[in-house]
Amino acid sequence: MPGLEPTLTHYLLLAAALLVISLVGIIANRRNVLVLLMAVELVLLSANLNFVAFSAYYNDLSGQVMAMFVLATVAVESAVGLALLILLFRRRGNIAIQTLDVMKG
């Protein structure tokens, strides 16, 4: 169906939607650090989607190379994030975000 053929704009809108979802997820989530982690990764992935889409659009490989690098980075980031999460849990016994307010002002 020619009308349903996804164009660049659709991909970009999808990526933008993903970005918005993840931002809302970060701001609105007040309980669970794990969800926060997922939302943060989603930001990077939405950008990745852009890269791939543009890469295809321009028929230029560098965007996809970038996406690969980003994927690797995302993985490392998750690892660091999870490690911190474990530390927090070990120290506190929970992973609630609201308790992270010792330092303020």
Partner: protein, 500 residues
């Protein structure tokens, strides 16, 4: 397609040291940090040497297929980064031992992050640039939370991680939009392509906005600054020093590079956005710092303010502005090193260590302003050095910090940013108040009770003390002969401009 690895020698040195430490840890799991520390210092100096030996400073050159740039300005900033880390480690050595962080892993993280810094300073392509940024940032998250049993450290680490990741996301998103607008990831190519767009290209503009947001986070410019006070406060002081100095060098180069090269066609938009960030940073940095009872936290706001001044120079968008901004960050780094050097020589204890999550967590001692009360009587050298650092940060002549402010405000005013300049001077008066408060506490007040002094003020080793003193005196000496640094920066930029 052949290329030489020789220009990469500095990075490779750090990488080699990193691997070596990793190997050592694998082989001798129970060893302390002494060997790793020495190896790190060695690697830093070898890298510095390599940097100077392998550079052809006359001509800027793109290496690795246009991925990396080697020029006088990268040479200057990379040297500064390496030197800053070396000094920071020297000052923080005793502190690491006291805080039970004297482990090889610590140094691996520092090396890793510094490798990222070098990469960012050199990057002339978005791939190494992004990878460098992540390489710089990811170890930092871990470093902040390095004190695994300290609630503050963990809290700071988590905050930094999530916000940093978000900022990376912004940055990446912005890069993707720029890629979308131009179809290229190489900065040189983008510069050529973007020239034709003007400011009408929506994608490019959106991309710029996201990139600015990402950069603003790294610089801790308002309103992307919220992480800074908490992270500065919670991180081990050495890490705080590192965060406040070394990555900033890289980010400033990145900012100036993007602004002058690839995205220079959007100069007006840059200026508008940076002006907003600069004003907010100067005001928030100056005003909020006044109410801080903790020196590390106060210095976080001080950094925020300083980034505002730096942006003031940067937003001018010409050679003068760039060299002023670069000069500014160098003066800031040198002054900051002294301030943190003194702070690192104090013994920080955290009462939060033993409490669990349900109990109220009292904040630690050793970095509160109150701990500096009457410092001159107890440790004149610390007090004098801290005074020099504070006055330099406040920008009082004839100390080095004055010339930094001089350069950025001069450039901004001459180029017509009058109101920004006026805000800059008003905020620097407010800022002077809190810097002076530290001086006042140290020199003019006396401490009534005498307990716990030895605990807070351990002896400083001969070498750190000497180097710290020299560093402090350098603030004065460079203040008397500012041309040494100013000309270096200006020439470095003059020779590389257009290919910053």
């Amino acid at each position: 397609m052949t290329f030489s690895l020789i220009p990469l020698l500095p990075e490779l040195t750090l990488l080699a040291a990193l691997s070596l430490i990793l190997l050592m840890v694998a082989l001798y799991p129970s060893q302390d940090g002494t060997a790793a520390y020495r190896l790190t210092q060695l690697a830093l100096w070898v890298a510095l040497l390599a940097l100077w030996l392998t550079q052809d400073i006359e001509e800027p050159q793109l290496i690795m297929n246009g991925m990396l740039l080697r020029s006088t300005s990268t040479l200057l900033m990379q040297s500064a980064a390496l030197l800053a880390l070396s000094l920071a480690l020297l000052y923080g050595r005793a502190s690491l031992i006291r805080q039970k962080l004297w482990q090889p892993e610590t140094f691996m993280l520092f090396l890793c992050s510094t490798l990222g810094v070098l990469a960012v300073i050199g990057a002339y392509h978005f791939v190494p640039l992004f990878v460098g940024l992540e390489l710089m940032a990811l170890p930092l998250y871990a470093m902040v939370a390095l004190r695994k049993d300290d609630a503050l450290s963990i809290e700071a680490g988590l905050k930094y991680f999530f916000l940093g990741a978000l900022a990376s996301g912004f940055m990446l998103y912005g890069i993707s939009l720029v890629y979308g607008a131009t179809g290229s990831l190489g900065l040189l190519a983008i510069a050529h392509l973007a020239e034709g767009f003007g400011s009408s290209n929506t994608l490019l503009l959106l991309g710029l906005i996201f990139i600015v947001a990402g950069l603003a986070f790294k610089l801790s410019a308002v309103p992307f600054h919220m992480w800074a006070p908490d992270v500065y406060r919670g991180a081990p002081t050495l890490v705080t020093l590192f965060i406040s100095t070394v990555p900033k060098l890289a980010v400033v180069v990145l900012l100036l590079r993007l602004m002058s090269g690839p995205l220079s066609s959007l100069l007006t938009e840059w200026q508008t956005m940076l002006a907003l960030l600069a004003v907010l940073s100067m005001i928030v940095g100056a005003v909020v710092a006044i109410a801080q009872p903790n020196l590390k936290r106060m210095l976080a706001y001080s950094t925020i303010g300083h980034m505002g001044y730096l942006l003031l120079g940067a937003l001018v968008g010409n050679t003068d502005g760039s060299s002023a901004a670069m000069f500014y960050i160098l003066t800031y780094a040198l002054s900051n090193l002294v301030a943190f050097g003194v702070l690192l020589s104090m013994n920080e204890t955290s009462d939060g260590d033993s409490k669990n999550a349900d109990g109220k967590i009292t904040l630690s001692r050793g970095s509160d302003l109150e701990d500096f009360r009457g410092l001159y009587q107890r440790s004149p050298i610390r007090a004098v050095l801290m005074t020099l650092a504070m006055l330099s940060l406040a920008g009082v002549p004839p100390l080095l910090g004055f010339y930094g402010k001089f350069a950025v405000i001069a450039v901004a005013l001459i180029n017509g940013f009058v109101w920004l300049s006026i805000i800059a001077i008003l905020t620097s008066v407010i800022a002077a108040f809190y810097y002076l408060r530290v001086v006042r506490l140290m020199l003019f007040s006396s401490r009534s009770e005498g307990e716990g002094e030895g605990e807070i003020l351990p002896a400083i080793g001969v070498i750190p003390r000497t180097v710290l003193t020299l560093n402090g005196l350098a603030l004065l000496a460079l203040g008397l002969f500012p041309s040494v640094l100013l000309d270096t920066t200006a020439q470095a930029l003059a020779w590389t401009f257009g290919l910053l």
